[in-house]
């Protein structure tokens, strides 16, 4: 099989602070030029000596915690940014879907945005004209073609964006987290399209915190951590190891505030049914998942979501508050810290879990797919082999066993 992607000794160094509100004023540069000392030059290696190759018909999944360098790697593969050292070679054009609707302009109509977005994704105008009806069909937005995009709902926006993206045919498809957006139907549609890309023999590189879709779409996965390859192999195995090994000692996580982010999760923890934080959650008792996030700009928060994935990447829970529009949290005096929690009934089997949080406003969706890895421990009286059973939930069940016909 031909090789489609070749990566050798790839490293990428960012100056700290560079990608958080990067630019500076001329005066700042002139001032710092004068007293450039070692302390000024703090660096961060987003990638460090990464190497791998991907055969042409392979779908590769990239997993790892936030800040592991996944997006940086995609950006280098797609030639959006240059590596500091090393080489990345791709055979043919790599089409990156790092976001949906890149370049969409709110003032332009749906039709105009299709042409704009398609050109940005590398489609020729002749090609767009030829496939225009298909794109419109896929999006199901015939009636709104001449409506300015700013009047579209979030769902319509997503449909239009994905319809265009799905009709671009790059040699190498690079996708970052797109599947995490939108409702279940939209996600399923995206997944379907992605596996189609795979079946057509295109090379796919796919980043997601949705471990289930990684195992579903990709036979192979690479686990990145701190910019380095932690493991590379069959996706089921890598996902299992990743979820198992990422669990911390205590079911609690704090994050360094980053003022450049409009919405940011600051802390997440697991508590017992009455809301008291615990270190050793056990199966068979209700658990509280609690998250604290900060909203740094006025924002109508219309949805808060929790997802809970098990070690296979199966979404055990996917709960949304405010989905039906009756609840809303208008944040006028930013920054404001919000706390949200859900109480999970005693259904989780012992094992490792991954908590994700989404915060949605009318226009934006803020995803924090991996806020907390934690373990649910078996109960003292559980049989020794209890962990080996392959179950998704373990609610209290009642057994009735006896000779047939006696009861």
């Amino acid at each position: 099989m031909q090789t489609a992607i070749e990566v050798e000794g790839l490293s990428k160094r960012y100056r700290l602070g560079q990608n958080l509100g990067g630019y500076k004023t001329l005066r700042e540069t002139l001032m710092s030029r004068r007293r450039r000392d070692a302390a000024d030059e703090a660096h961060l290696w987003a990638l460090r000596d990464v190497g791998f190759s991907v055969p042409q018909d392979q779908a590769l999944g990239l997993i790892g915690p936030n800040g592991a360098g996944k997006t940086t790697l995609l950006k280098i593969l797609a030639r959006i940014t240059q590596p500091t050292t090393g080489i990345s070679r791709t055979r043919g054009r790599a089409g990156a879907l790092l976001d949906v609707g890149t370049g969409f302009h709110p003032e332009l109509t749906g039709r105009e945005n299709i042409y704009l977005n398609a050109a940005i994704l590398g489609m020729s105008r002749r090609e767009v004209r030829r496939r225009f009806d298909e794109i419109v069909d896929f999006a199901g937005l015939e009636r709104f073609l001449d409506t300015p995009l700013k009047r579209y709902s979030w769902g319509m926006y997503l449909r239009l964006a994905f319809a265009v993206a799905a009709h671009v045919e790059p040699d190498i498809v690079i996708v970052d987290e797109v599947l995490a957006i939108g409702d279940a139907r939209f996600r399923a549609k995206c997944l379907e399209k992605m596996s189609e890309f795979g079946q057509e023999g295109r090379t796919v590189v796919f980043v997601s915190h949705d471990l289930g879709s990684i195992t579903q779409l990709c036979r192979r996965a690479i686990w990145l951590d701190h910019g380095q390859i932690q493991a590379d192999g069959p996706s089921e195995e890598i996902v299992r190891r990743y979820v198992r090994d990422s669990v911390g000692d205590v079911p609690r996580a704090d994050f360094t505030p980053d003022p450049s982010r409009r919405v940011q999760v600051l802390a997440a923890e697991v508590a017992d049914g009455s809301g008291v934080a615990i270190d050793h959650p056990e199966r068979g008792q209700p658990l509280t998942l609690r998250v604290r996030f900060v909203v740094r700009e006025p924002l109508p928060v219309v949805a808060i979501g929790f997802t809970l994935q098990d070690h296979r990447g199966i979404r055990v829970l996917d709960e949304v508050w405010g989905e039906h529009g009756s609840d809303m949290l208008a944040i006028d005096d930013a920054p404001t810290e919000i706390e949200a929690e859900i109480v999970v009934p005693p259904i989780l089997p012992a094992g490792s879990y991954l908590v994700g949080v989404t915060i949605g406003s009318s226009y934006d969706l803020f995803l924090e797919q991996e806020v907390l890895h934690f373990r649910v421990w078996p109960r003292a009286d559980d049989p020794a082999d209890s962990l080996e059973r392959d179950r998704v939930v373990q609610p209290p069940v009642t057994w009735h066993v006896g000779r047939a016909g006696i009861r």
Binding site: Q2, T3, E6, E8, Q18, N19, G22, Y23, K24, T25, L26, T29, D49, V50, G51, F52, S53, Q56, K75, I76, L77, A78, R79, I80, T81, Q82, P83, T84, G86, I87, S88, R89, T90, R91, G92, R93, A94, A96, L98, D99, T102, G103, H105, E107, L108, E112, Y115, L116, A119, I120, G122, S124, R125, D171, Q228, I229, Q230, A231, D232, G233
Partner: protein
Amino acid sequence: MTTSSADRSAAIPPSAERGRKLPGWVENRASDRFRPGALVRDLWSYRELGVVLAISTLRVRYKQAAFGVAWAVLQPLLAVILFSIVFGRLAGLPSDGIPYPVFNYAAMIIWLYVSLGVTAAAQSLVENRDLITKVYFPRPVAPLSAAFPGLVDFAIAFVVLVGILVAYDVTPDWAVVLTPAWVAAAMLVVVSVGFPLAALNVRYRDVRLALPLAMQLWLFASPVVYSSSLVEGGWKYVYALNPMSTVLDGFRWSVADGPAPGPEALVSAAVVIVVLVAGLFYFARAERSFADVV
């Protein structure tokens, strides 16, 4: 554990591939080399993006603008009325024997094109921040495509110029055939200044703040409201360091029967070429970090 280097196969030389036609290798590495040939090929293959970006800019500009395209005419017209009163009547500036409004309007539409184009080019990367951080395209496409939307306004204003020429009974001579060349020269000025400004703006937002003032100064350093015949002797060559002096004089020569530019035009041409080449080199060096800094 399978580590990064375990299953790395040796680099495959592109020439060793046989059989089914496959796309060629595209490389991304830290590189100091600037290869103009590769850039031109890359730009050509992304020409449609440039066109679409320019068209979208135009569409957005005139959406929800009640006067729409009329702005393209109103702007130079109002400026000319003002300048005709202040500089033509009150100050009595000479205008090379051309009626002052014609003299001024002809220069003004070229000037407005350049001013609009330079501003748009300088902002082109920062405004397309989303694109730069999310997709690949040859970055020079952005400032290049910014040079085009202004041509539409220019074309509309040009139609009005024809009307003004008729009204003032000014008839251009044979030099009128060179008109497109002067417009092309104006585009070249926009592009050559636009490249370095766009790249600088990514790193230093001071550019955006300083630009309006700089454009004002440039306007008065160029023969828009006054005639370059005010500059005499050897100073002509110094004055021509501002390429707009030659572009404006040339355009007026072509459309309004003004005096032809002298040999100092060569100075302007040299300046444009130097700025263009140096600007491209700076741009190519700076573009490596655009996605990280913008």
